[in-house]
Structure formats: structure tokens, C-alpha cells
Symmetry: C2
Subunit: 327 residues, 2 copies
């Protein structure tokens, strides 16, 4: 049997964490022959609740789950970890300015970046989910000078999956037949869900939908889907966010299928004219635990303007927390 | 590709339902090559919430999920369904007598039994989770005269998995090494978690734990685990219950491993001296979509008394709702 991989989850007692940890323990993230050790890192006031989660994990008798560690100490939570999923973040309080939200979270993620730098496996793969996810990932990476910045990513896979879901619904297609959707930029309402390269069952997407539909209905709906879910459920997306986390880590670790790609927010290398270093969502393929940006996609004027608009938001976020960017 | 199986879930907007439906859609219940259609049956006042669940399912872009139906009409919800998972039930209200709880739920499950009888696939497999689960399954089966009573089961798999979890923890063993645990009787505090036949990594369990530990610590802890979870989480078990549902249906549909068995509450055929017809949890093996009670286990005097005690509770429950048992 393979040796167990260690997976650290912050905010494990929250709604996304609760929807996630059982799926990881069941083998959904790393496959049916890969044992896992879960390390649930919480804030002190959530330790009782996270212990309940640990008890329920025990009650599932998952054959692949070799151990569960519950702690409020980042040094213990990140020690030797292979995968770090950073969900826990400060939510926007009443009357809180967006700038304050970014600054408050920047403090949390600079501490976690340092702890990962000092304690995690040298090959750790980090996924930031807590918002503002791209900028939080930038801060964490900046505070981990001994690691490669490419080990730090942020999640736009939920947006990517939402885009596929909307296309499947609109065209009455099977999800499995929809390829080459991209979400560019920031995980926020400036994101750019982009389907010019999309194929559905081998046909160009614009054989099935119009560009007007894409611009007037599809893009805004994907951008605002989170609010639509809150309105229907009275609660924010949890299980679908957890599922996107499973997908992001699964594909990063085990690879993307031939002929398709996924969206991941990663440190930009300057591709497509985006400022180097910004954590920006690109179309990527994954193989052998590594990712590469899909190159050579043609972008029309409208698309270029959208890529720049979401970059602009990320530049503004970075300016707010510039003093927390180590090195 | 296989044609999709239809799976009806009642109470899909509740906490267990929310933890369950995404796992079914991901392929955890019926395997990675079996498409599914989910039919979410809710009460009218939960339709907005269940629509939010349907939206999140769409947002996951599950390749195996071919359709989602949301309805408050049992005729639509159960039409042609292959698997019915009955979670929705009336919870015990303040000052409510146990007898009233049983009677109130009996009404719900007699209606659902009739609807399944009239609309479901002739091969439907039914799992009752809503409490009192065994007696609710008895009522549903009694109201479905055109179906085989053996198609109606109730869930003791969560108790079974909890028992394995406790043994793994106590003996510091891997879950995969623990075989032949049984939970007998009612899914209630009279259940009998029984390990006399258990082996851990090929050794008799009593090489590793004492009978005193089993009687004084193990049995009561498994029986009362639900309350222990509520105390830690402030909420009742949801994800672990959902996981047990996945396991129950998975094993019933796809079979149990050689050399091991699982616990399922099923209509008694009189085995082990239990009154025929009661829905009683037995050790069973599954193959080709059917189950058989494990025969020939030796039971000592203590065990026989425990089997009778939990039977007695089921007889009392049945007496309360005798007038609702059709045919």
C-alpha cells in the first residue's frame, strides 16, 4: 500500500470544511488507493466543533483515512504536510470596508505562509480558498521564501465548474462533452469566464449558443452565481465549493485529461501580458504534479479588455497589502 | 455508457441530504462508470432551499449526474425510481411523547410506501433513514403490497461503522483490517453492537480487547454515539450518516467483500429466533443486488438476551402503529 499523504485543512469546522473533509477521507481527491492523514487546523474557539468533525470522521470507518490530527497550532497543523487547503478566513463584517477586509485577511495569510515555509513538506501544494483568495495566495507565497511561489495557488475551479454547468444547462448537453472553458483573473465579480475556445461534443460552442448570449447572460450569471446561491439557500455555497477543491487538488496531483484544461489561479509568469507575480487565473494543463499555462490562445479585443480589467482589480488589492509582501 | 439509475432522496434539503446528494452525484454510491439521475423530494416549504441544492449540484459539473428533478409531489419524486432513500421525517418536538413521534412518522411513511408501490421501478431498493427507522420501514413495506417486503430496509450501517471506528481507535488498527462486526436489532439505544465473531488483522478480537471492555465501554458508547456527536458539534450527525447511506446502498447494489459482512435492518425471516416480519438489523452479505442473512453464528446467553431486548422494543413500536399496517 502507498504511504499516506498528509492534507492540512484550515477552517475545517466551517461549512465548506465540513463538506470537504469526508470527501477527501473517502478517496475522492487522491484516488481509491491513496491513504490520507487529515490535519484539521482551527482557531481556538472552534476546537470543540472540529473535534466533533473528527469524531464523525472516525464514525465513517473510512479505510483510506489513517489518522486525523486536530490542532489550533499552525506548527503542528502544517508539519510535513503535502497538501495545504486554506479555507479559514475572516468574513466581511457589517460596515467593514473592502480595504479592511483585505488587510485583516492579509495578516492571517502571512502568518500561514510563514508556518508553511517553516514546517510543511518541501513539495507542499497550497490551495487558497478563503477570500480574497488570489491576493491571500500572493501574501502566503511572499511569506514563504524557501518555497517556490508556484506551490501557491488560489481557487477559480468553482467558477470554472459553474461555467460548465451553465453551458450544459443552456445547450442541454452532457457535462462530459464540454471542453476548454476558461476563467481568467480574479476570483471575484471581475473574473472573466471565457468560452471562445470551448467545444461541446466536438463542435465549436458558437454553433450552439450566440456570442450575445455569452456576453449578456452567461458571463454575468457565472460572475454572480455565488449571490444567486445565497438567495436560494439562505446560505453560501459549501458543497459545490468543497467539490471544486476536490477537483483542483485532484487534477493538480493526478493530471488533467488529454484535450482539455482547467482554470487555476497561479503566480503569473507574464503570459498573456499579465504582470508577473500576480496570482491570476489561467487555463492550465496538469501532469506529474505540475501545471503549465495553455499558450497561444487567440484573444479578441473584448477578451483582452476583460483580462486587463480583472488584472486591474488584482493590482489594486496588491497595493493595499504591499507592506505585508515579504522579500 | 450505462444508462442512468434514478435515485430519489426525501428530505434532500436537510443536513443529511445536503451531505449526501453531492457524494451520490460524484459516483461514490454506484461507482465511477454509473450515471445517476437525482430526484429530490421535499415538503412544499423546503422547495426554495432544495432548489438551491439543485443549483449547487449544477455548479459542480459532475460528469455522472445526468439530471436533477426537484419536486414536492411523491408521484413525480418516486416515478420509475431505482433507489429510494427516505431521510425526511418528523423530528421529536418539545414535550412530544415517543408514542406520538412514532404515530406521526407512521403517517408519513405509509403515504410514501403507497407512492413507492404505485410509481417506483418494480425492482426499487428502499432505505429508510428517518427515525424510528426500523418501524418506518415496516410501515412503508406494509403499504406497498405489490412489492417484495425485502425491498424495504432501514439503516444500521452508521452504528456498524461507528463500532468499527471504536475498535480501530481502541486497538490502534487500520479500519480495513477489522472484519465481521455486527449490529443487531433496532437503530436505537437498544441496538446490540456485537463483536464475538470479529477479527482484527486475522486475529480474534478478544486477543486485543477484553469482553469486559466490550460490555462496559464499547457497547454503550456505540449505542450513545449520536448524543456524543451532538454534544461536541452542537448539531446531530450529518456527514457520517450520509456516508453510511452511501455504504449501505453501495454494498446492497454492488456486493460485500468476501470474508466480511455488513449490518442492515431487513424484514426478519425468523432467523436467530426473531419474529418474522419485524424490520431487524442482521449481519448480511450482498451479491448481485440481493442480500442474505449470515447464518450459524453462535450466540452466548448474554447475546441472546440482548437480541431479545431490542426485539422487544420493536414489538412495542409495532403495537403502537398496528392499525397503519396494511394487508
Amino acid at each position: 500500500m502507498k504511504s499516506a499523504v498528509k492534507v492540512t485543512i484550515t477552517g475545517a469546522a466551517g461549512n465548506i470544511g465540513y463538506a470537504l473533509v469526508f470527501r477527501i477521507a473517502s478517496g475522492a481527491m487522491f484516488g481509491p488507493d491513496q491513504p490520507v492523514i487529515l490535519k484539521l487546523l482551527e482557531i481556538p474557539q472552534s476546537m470543540s466543533s472540529v473535534k466533533g468533525v473528527g469524531m464523525e470522521l472516525e464514525d465513517c470507518a473510512f479505510p483510506l483515512l489513517h489518522d486525523v490530527v486536530m490542532t489550533d497550532n499552525p506548527a503542528i497543523g502544517f508539519r510535513d504536510t503535502d497538501y495545504a487547503i486554506l479555507i479559514g478566513a475572516k468574513p466581511r463584517g457589517k460596515g467593514m470596508e473592502r480595504k479592511d477586509l483585505i488587510t485583516e485577511n492579509a495578516k492571517i495569510f502571512s502568518v500561514q505562509g510563514k508556518a508553511i515555509n517553516d514546517h510543511a513538506s518541501r513539495d507542499v501544494k497550497v490551495l487558497v480558498v478563503g477570500n480574497p483568495a488570489n491576493t491571500n495566495a500572493l501574501i502566503a507565497a511572499s511569506n514563504a521564501p524557501d518555497l517556490d511561489k508556484r506551490q501557491f495557488t488560489a481557487m477559480t475551479r468553482l467558477d470554472h465548474n459553474r461555467a460548465i454547468g451553465q453551458l450544459a444547462n443552456k445547450t442541454n448537453s452532457l457535462v462530459a462533452d464540454i471542453k476548454r472553458v476558461t476563467v481568467w483573473g480574479n476570483h471575484s465579480s471581475t473574473q472573466f469566464p471565457h468560452i471562445d475556445n470551448c467545444e461541446i461534443a466536438g463542435k465549436p460552442v458558437y454553433d450552439l449558443v450566440s456570442q450575445d448570449w455569452a456576453i449578456d447572460h452567461f458571463i454575468p450569471r457565472v460572475q454572480r452565481r455565488g449571490a444567486e446561491i445565497i438567495e436560494a439557500r439562505g446560505l453560501s455555497s459549501a458543497a459545490s465549493a468543497a467539490d471544486a477543491i476536490v477537483d483542483h487538488m485532484h487534477d493538480w496531483a493526478l493530471g488533467t485529461p488529454d484535450g482539455d484544461w482547467v482554470s487555476m489561479a497561479i503566480p503569473s509568469d507574464g503570459s498573456y501580458g499579465i504582470e508577473e507575480g500576480l496570482v491570476y487565473s489561467y487555463p492550465v494543463t496538469c501532469k506529474d504534479g505540475s501545471y503549465e499555462i495553455v499558450q497561444g490562445l487567440e484573444l479578441d479585443e473584448f477578451s483582452v479588455s476583460r483580462l486587463k480589467a480583472t488584472q486591474q482589480e488584482l493590482l489594486e488589492e496588491r497595493a493595499i497589502i504591499a507592506d505585508l509582501l515579504g522579500g
